[in-house]
Point group: C2
Chain length 478, copies 2
């Protein structure tokens, strides 16, 4: 008899069906006569309840059925009298596939701290919380590919190892095969990277955008979805040294088209989660509620599912950076000196400012546009005021900036001048500038940090908990 | 009026429709009175023919309409008298968005060598060949996600930066932020990696498999799809330093389940290509035919679309490595000393042997199983003969090995012993061994090199031509 997945048994199994289920024991409880085993195979957050008539089984077998052990169970489905499930499995045969010594298996049925589970990231997938998170993470990755595929975008794999540092987005990891202790030197005493694997100094990419533009200015619409890296010594709940980014780039899109796309895209993914991940979302919603139950009412998060629905139901408010600064300077927290950071035209907005706009003032996701050029990257399209650029940031409740993007400067002269002003090596970027030299067009794009988006969808608080094996300062375990 | 994509105009446009099309000029030809512009926007390999009544336009505008220039064209669709298209666009207004100096734009309408286009990889997307390749590459990536999503697999992002070198699959790239010239040293004079970003020596991953197993042994079925790296100085048409791999791992799958999955998976992707990419495939099929027209008949490839259909229509032949060695030793080329490499039990099969089995002997894709343990990795399940392991390689025409996989050793003792025999550091791998310590189950998995698969589907001959910006020894341009 072929094994059925527990998800399928719970969905389509009927009383009287003979089935084989395989999975891992989450809990075992019961009396002298009957045991109840909660069996999970990862296909769903829901467990299959196995009913064991104690008398029919060897004591030795029953002794090995502990949390974490793996079983193959053959038996008959029966309607369940208990609450929480419609159907359960009356065991006729139980085979313990792999034991789990209860003295040694770290993931017991009691609640573990998220920190403890991070140290056991290789086993945390076996908990309800992390099973839910990683199924949702999968669903969101798929929703992203599905959305762009249906819109006619082409998925482009931009390089991970790169010789260009043009974006200046942050500190980079060096990639090398030179002898680490005694690297070859030039006559001038510098490291001779011409002898390195790629014949030059190389780093891990901080963004696929520039190469993405090359694709868009030929294929029309592309997106990247790949790992990016920052060698910043930031030990926060928001930063990873290795994280995944989605970066669409589109020819013939101006800033308005870009905003329309970003809003439609985010809503499409959130709708996919609500349509396809409700069991996992409900669990995480309860988890969040539980976690915050001791907080004062006004410091609690919006309930998870309500929050997702809220984003779906509302048009994102669009305004300029300059208008936002006005609002902030006229706000109560500004007047009462409650903001930690200053608010004046020209500053980069802090999370507290972004969250005030989203959570207090507009009570709605917000798109800010037309930021001061001095706080944005060289490639953003310059406005005629010579002060601002066609940037856009999408701001979400709790998260703050979730998407950053812009219309790109398509005018060769303006772009070159800005690069010179900002000390970006124009010569090294010949390939990027070629797209402005030959058949340049209006185009735009944006970037979404995948893990920040997963934080939003799952309601988790620490970015280390939404990526399988987080890479952070002093940590590359597993 | 909103711009329409050329793909949509060609598909749904009707004579009399007013449209705006935007794109890049592929060619311009015509007479004193009428010009024909082939306009392409990357949405399809097919161009929209723009008909220009020369008298109605400024000479200055017409002069700027050169290959590579970008245009916005407004006009009326009319039925086309020419062959190759049903509909064409009578231009009323043409705006040159970005010029392309014909003296300088490298991608002229004449045929360029693939080598020349590699040096201009930033612009080669604008050719028919590379447009087709990168649309197909997108379609295949999407087909992979779609296939696994529908089967209930979870997409797992395994780490790119890793401290483990357990797979021993090849030379690795070092990742570091230490001072390259004067790295800190320990008292013993070794490099003090405890001061490096991650507090230890780290490299770029060669495979996500081991971490993939951790996911599978909790979530049931997972797959990875991410970049992997080899610092091998191999300058061949088959090797890249940076390439993308797909690695599914499945709990409760034995070797037969693994083979069934691999065969169904490959066929599903190929069917997706035939169903969704026919315009691009037809172009590449013609290209291949053209390229090989001067070869003797018996050295030409099977026509591209026929080859794809052939894989779809045939059951893959399954046999053991030992049986394959027998076939090879009884073959004509062996007896006539025509194989370059020796054939005897224990050797690793070479491409010539694999291709003989597939192309000459069986005339069918082949899955070889149960390889000698000494030529395979430590984690493969040991057979009772103590000589072979439950490995499987899927062999394709022209490509040779396209998939490598195995049932994994789930027995802790056997696995540890094999690791010790092979000098794999057992202690460092505590997290991997924990999955065999706690609730171990039969499981399997395989790896598909994405670019090799794209070579097969597109009929291209050089792996540098199926990835956007290839990374090879002495080359990290763009």
């Amino acid at each position: 008899m072929a094994r059925l997945k527990i998800k399928d048994i719970l969905k389509s199994g009927k009383a009287g069906d003979e089935v084989v289920a395989k999975g891992w024991v989450r809990t075992k409880r019961g009396s002298k006569n009957v045991n109840f085993i909660a069996l999970n195979d990862g296909s769903t957050i829901n467990n299959l309840q196995i009913v064991v008539d104690v008398e029919s089984f060897d004591e030795a077998v029953l002794r090995d059925i502990n949390t974490g052990a793996s079983l193959a169970v053959t038996g008959t489905l029966v309607e369940s009298a208990g609450s929480g499930q419609n159907i359960e499995l009356n065991a006729r045969e139980i085979k313990v596939l792999g034991k789990a010594d209860p003295e040694k298996f770290p993931i017991q049925s009691k609640k573990h701290s998220l920190e403890f589970l991070r140290e056991n990231a290789h086993l945390r997938f076996r908990t309800n919380t992390f099973g839910a998170i990683f199924r949702i993470r999968h669903a969101m990755a798929f929703a992203i590919h599905k959305y762009f595929n249906e819109k006619g975008f082409n998925y482009l794999h931009t390089p991970i190892i790169t010789a260009s540092d043009a974006e200046g987005a942050g500190q980079m990891f060096r990639v090398s095969t030179l002898d680490a202790k005694n690297p070859p030197l030039t006559e001038e005493g510098a490291i001779d990277y011409s002898q390195d694997f790629f014949g030059r100094a190389t780093n891990l990419t901080v963004s696929g955008q520039l190469e993405g533009e090359l694709g868009a200015l030929a294929l029309g619409e592309i997106y990247t979805f790949g790992p990016t890296f920052r060698a910043e010594n930031s030990n926060t709940t928001r930063h990873l040294a290795e994280f995944w980014m989605i970066e669409p780039e589109m020819a013939f899109y101006d800033l308005k088209d870009n905003m329309d796309l970003a809003e439609e895209f985010l809503k499409s993914c959130i709708k996919y989660a609500l349509d396809n991940c409700m069991d996992d979302l409900k669990f995480l919603a309860q988890r969040l509620e539980q976690e915050e139950k001791n907080k004062p009412q006004d410091q609690r998060s919006m309930p998870l599912i309500e929050k997702l629905q809220f984003v779906l139901d509302n048009d994102f408010i669009r305004l300029t950076y300059t208008e936002a600064i006005d609002i902030l300077r006229n706000s109560k927290p500004f007047k009462k000196n409650q903001f930690q950071f200053p608010v004046e035209w020209g500053i980069d907005l802090q999370s507290e400012h972004e969250r005030y706009l989203v959570e207090k003032h507009f009570k709605c996701p917000v798109i800010l546009t037309d930021y001061p050029k001095d706080i944005k990257a060289f490639y953003m399209k310059q406005n005629d005021d010579n002060k601002t650029v066609r940037a856009m940031d999408v701001l979400f409740p709790q998260i703050g900036e979730i998407i950053g993007g812009s219309q790109r400067e398509e005018d060769l002269t303006k772009l070159e001048n800005r690069m010179k002003e900002m000390d970006i090596p124009v010569d090294e970027m010949w390939w990027y500038l070629d797209t402005r030299r030959f058949g340049s067009v209006v185009h735009s794009g944006f970037g979404l940090g995948f893990e920040r988006f997963i934080l939003f969808v799952t309601g988790m608080g620490n970015i280390r908990d939404v990526i399988a094996f987080p890479r952070t300062p002093k940590n590359a375990e597993f």
